[in-house]
Symmetry: C2
Subunit: 120 residues, 2 copies
């Protein structure tokens, strides 16, 4: 998750697919390794950087930052900085972010069924 090379075949392919396939487009936005997890925690209300980190003890600060930036850029969350020391920054889902709730619920149900199916 650094800069992407806008000349790669990979980049072209992604763009083409997302252009003609809204579900691929959507999954590209919420599809990062930690993205959905972050949204899950935020769906219960805003959280600070450090609180999110505590929710996901294995994420590195770098990754958390990158994911949050990406989510912010995609208008899934808002970022509010309070001019205090030490700094306080709060993250909250936007309207369209909260609308992921349904999808998250569906994924959860489907995931449960699927996991059950794969058990034996």
């Amino acid at each position: 998750m650094t800069k992407i090379k806008e000349t790669s075949t990979n980049f072209e392919n992604k763009k083409l697919l997302e252009d003609e396939c809204l579900e691929v487009y959507a999954s590209g936005i919420i599809g990062g390794q930690w993205t959905l997890a972050i949204c899950c925690y935020l769906i219960n209300g805003k959280l600070r950087f450090g609180e999110l980190k505590k929710c996901m003890p294995t994420i590195t600060e770098r990754m958390l930052t990158l994911q949050l930036r990406k989510l912010e850029k995609n208008k899934i969350i808002t970022r509010t900085v309070y001019a205090e020391v030490p700094p306080r920054v709060e993250y909250e889902l936007t309207a369209i972010g909260y609308q992921l709730g349904t999808i998250i619920g569906e994924l959860e149900d489907w995931g449960r069924k699927h996991k059950e199916l794969m058990k034996p």
Copy 2:
């Protein structure tokens, strides 16, 4: 998409997240670059390898094979080989595969809204 290193931190992190978060688990299964697209085409009925390829002209045969194998391993699709020459292989969604229909629909709706929102 070849063999994974089961000792990497990355692998550990994924496993942990998927263990405690069913939506992350689910998104891991349908989250590949071409996975959802394949499912979308299959949702209208079974297709042959070559037909899928025609649906997605930019996918390489290697990638298509890899994705189909992964989907098969995860019991999202079935693979039927007919003993003919030249060979004929058909892919079809399983029951749990077809149940992705709801999620795909939701993703589509959300994607449309989101795309609209990002326009200006």
